[in-house]
Structure formats: structure tokens, C-alpha cells
Assembly symmetry: C2
Homo-oligomer: 269 residues x 2
């Protein structure tokens, strides 16, 4: 029997995948978790029926969110990741000469299942520089004292549980954890499909940071596919170095020319 799994991107649009294997299906304390295998997209992680990543296209999201901020600093050492329990963002962060990556994931099951089923991202957990904290990210940034070069928000979308990670209070706490010229980076949803989510995050970030830049990238398996990543700092976001590692999406031209489509410019003016 053919088993199809899909995400209702809106009430009336759906992207679905035929599973050649259902690798895992269960419920954690926080959410419904499924991991399937699909011939076109490889292994796919779904949380509460929403696609978190696919093996074929995850590189785009993870490269943009990691490398824009890290390449904007000469010598970043300490990085905080909020969310990112699959390990993919940490994998990209570790391509830099960093010394500490604190990864704060609320759902231990996501970390454990990724270790079991998604080695292409979770390989990063084997690196001694990565410390996983099973905690609520919003609480973590309130209590923590240490200073980070970069803080990255790799969360589900700003509806439901993760919405606290897009509030002005969260950004204020995050700012207090950053070094003076540190950089905050967050996925900020699809400005094409959900412009109101994007605008809310952007406006809230703007309260605490002088310089904001939005990069867009296509994420084929996300709703609307035109995805935004917003970076905020009181320093700058100019590229300081060239890659000494391989990427499949990010490159120096993409970093240096922060090109936004016209409709996005209209949203942030």
C-alpha cells in the first residue's frame, strides 16, 4: 500500500511525499514526530505534520543561516543555537574555527531521533565543541550570562510554541547575551506566503539592533519556498573572510550582494 505524508502548507495547498519507508512515527512530550524516506528528497523530518528538513534541500537553509553571520566576523568563537535539534545548523557552524557551540533544544526526542535516523545532519553532535542543552530557549536566554559572537534561531514557525522566539522580549534577552558587535540570525519565515510573520519578527528585531539585513533563499519543501533569514547586529554584516570549506548554495557573491526581490523591499520600508 502506498503511504503518502504531506504538509498542509495552507488550508488549501498541500505538498506530499510518498514514503518508501516510514522510519519513525511517534509522539514526544511536545509534538508528533515522523521520519520518512522518499526517493526524491531522501530522509524527511516532520514535526506536527510540518516539514522540518529533507536530506536533499536542507543545505540551503543551514548554509545561509550559519555562514552569513559567521563570515561577517573575523574570528567567531562562541555560538548559541536556539532550536536546531537535528544538528544541521551546528554542522555548518563547525566549518568555522569556533570553540563552543551551545545548542538549546526543547525536545530531547528530536536530538535522539536525529542521531539515529539523520546522520547527514546529526554527525555534528559527535564534535566535542557542541554542548546540547535540553531546555526551553526562551528561558535559557533569560538566565544565561556568557557572551556569544553569534546567536542563531533555528526554530519552527512563529505560530504556537515557537512564537515566543520572535517576540521583542526574546530579542532583548538575546541581545544581552551577544558581544558588542555580535550577530543575531533567525529564520523569519516566508515573506511571500506569510508576510505578516516576517514583518512581526523584523519589526521586533529592529527595536534592539542598528543594522538589519534580510537574505532570501529558496527552500523547495517549505511553504511559499521563498524563505527569509534576518540578521541583526550593532556591528556590521560585511563579509570578513573567504570560505576555506565547500558549500552547495552559499558563496561570497551571495553574501556581498544582499539582493531582495521588490515585493520584499516593499514589506520592510
Amino acid at each position: 500500500m502506498e503511504e503518502w505524508y504531506g504538509e498542509k502548507q495552507t488550508n488549501d495547498v498541500m505538498l506530499s511525499f510518498k514514503a518508501s519507508k516510514l522510519l519513525y512515527s511517534g509522539k514526544s512530550k511536545y509534538q508528533d514526530i515522523k521520519i520518512i524516506e522518499n526517493e526524491t528528497y531522501g530522509r524527511i523530518l516532520l514535526l506536527d505534520g510540518t516539514i522540518q528538513l529533507t536530506e536533499k534541500d536542507e543545505f540551503i537553509y543551514h548554509e545561509v543561516l550559519a555562514h552569513i553571520p559567521l563570515m561577517s566576523l573575523n574570528d567567531p568563537k562562541k555560538v548559541l543555537i536556539i532550536g536546531g535539534g537535528d544538528g544541521g545548523l551546528a554542522r555548518e557552524v563547525l566549518k568555522h574555527n569556533v570553540t563552543n557551540v551551545d545548542l538549546v533544544e526543547i525536545d530531547e526526542q528530536v536530538v535522539n531521533l536525529s542521531k539515529n535516523y539523520l546522520p547527514f545532519v546529526s554527525s555534528s553532535f559527535k564534535d566535542q565543541r557542541v554542548k546540547v542543552h535540553i531546555k526551553d530557549g526562551a528561558e535559557f536566554v533569560k538566565s544565561k550570562k556568557g557572551k556569544y559572537d553569534v546567536i542563531l534561531i533555528d526554530s519552527t514557525d512563529p505560530v504556537g510554541a515557537a512564537s515566543v522566539l520572535f517576540t521583542s522580549e526574546f530579542y532583548k534577552n538575546a541581545k544581552n547575551l551577544l558581544k558588542v558587535n555580535g550577530i543575531l540570525g533567525s529564520q523569519t519565515g516566508s515573506p511571500f506566503m506569510f508576510p505578516e510573520h516576517f514583518k512581526m519578527a523584523y519589526e521586533n528585531m529592529k527595536i534592539y539592533f542598528k543594522t538589519l539585513k534580510v537574505y532570501t533563499a529558496p527552500i523547495p519543501t517549505y511553504p511559499g519556498t521563498i524563505w527569509s533569514f534576518t540578521f541583526a547586529t550593532n556591528g556590521d554584516l560585511k563579509r570578513k573572510r573567504s570560505r576555506n570549506f565547500r558549500t552547495l548554495f552559499y558563496n561570497e557573491e551571495y553574501h556581498d550582494n544582499n539582493i531582495n526581490p521588490e515585493f520584499l523591499k516593499d514589506l520592510i520600508h
Copy 2:
């Protein structure tokens, strides 16, 4: 009863839309044609079950394919469109100070149905500068003598009937119809999902033209969504003018900085 219509993007990936209305369903001499209405994406044209355009995202495809070549010429006058029977590409072409647009569409039904159901694109057919030829595009470029500033290929993908529009013979005939520094532009599929289609078109174009540039743009409702547009000329593709019209995707920065993701560079080296 809920009616969903979808495109199988590959054997095991499907994008589907709930129709709030089925506006048209029928068969022409060449293909199965459906036009549905969807609350998220507006009106959607499907040919043989493949999404040709949606009201919400068609601007991206049409703007890139029209404005890159036309803005690369000081004073383009004559334009040939192969395919494009919905009128959307002609709409963008008419934003320039052109005098003649020959549009060669094989399927008269597509033109007629677009006039009835898709006014946001087919409005261009009311313009006196547009002449519609109901003909086979591959035959048209063999027989025709007149010289064009720009030739644009707005076809279905290079499988089945449209594959002739991606052959070296077709590009040779198209070149003979271009003025010395004229520009050929074609959609060349998704280099992310179907790299072999893209490479075939690119390699065939390279035989007859000195300068090729690939632009990518996200088309949320197309398979793989990372779409390529290849432009070829024996002149150059530098932008010659600034817009005196509004766009929602294309802008001068996008044109001037021809940024390709790393994986695409690997395909064309």
C-alpha cells in the same frame, strides 16, 4: 465535496491545490487543460496536469524571462515569443517601448481560455503591438525571415512535445532570426530537481552563442522551485537602462549581480 488538483512533480512528490471553483476542464487538440481557482494561489492553469502558472506567483517567472534580455538592450523593438499562450510574458515585454511582439503558440485553446479566465495575464492580447500566430514554434523559426531583438522561449518542460524547443537545431534557427547583438532567453527548468534538462539546454545553446548567463529565481509552484532562465547572445547581457515601470521581483541589483548558487556553478563548469 472537496476537489483537489495536483501536479505529480516526480513519481513520489506531489503539490496539490483545493479548488474553490473548477473554472474549466477539457481537452484541446494537444493537451488536457484545466483552470481552477484556489484561495491561496488564485487562478491556476494546468496543462496535462502540470502547473503552468498561478495568479499569485506568475510575476516572478514572467519578469525574469522578459526583463533580463530587454533591459540588456538600449532600444529593443521587435520581440518573438515562442509559447507563452497565456499572455503573461507578453504583458511584461509590453512594459518596454517595443513596436512588435510576435507570439507563436501551438494551441489556440490556451489563448482563448486565457482570454476568458486569466485576464491578469491575457490583458496583453488587447494591445495592438501583439500578433498571435497559432503555429508550431519550431516550424515558425525555420520559415521566418524577419530579424528580432529578442527571442523568448516560454514553453512547457523539455519532455514530450516541447523538447524540440531545447535542441541545437532550434537554437541555430533562432540565432538566424536574431539581430547581430540580439538575445535569446529561455526557461531551462530546475537545475536542482532536473539538472540533466538544464544541462542539455545550456550545452546546446552554447554551440551558437558566445555569452551565456543563467539566472535563477524561486517559482514556488514549479517542481524543485529553484528555476533557471538561460540567456544567450553574441553581444552582451549588461543592463543598459533603469526601469520606468513597476515590478514585484526583478530589480536592477538582481540583473547586475548574476549570482548562481554553488551547485549550479558546478553544473556549468
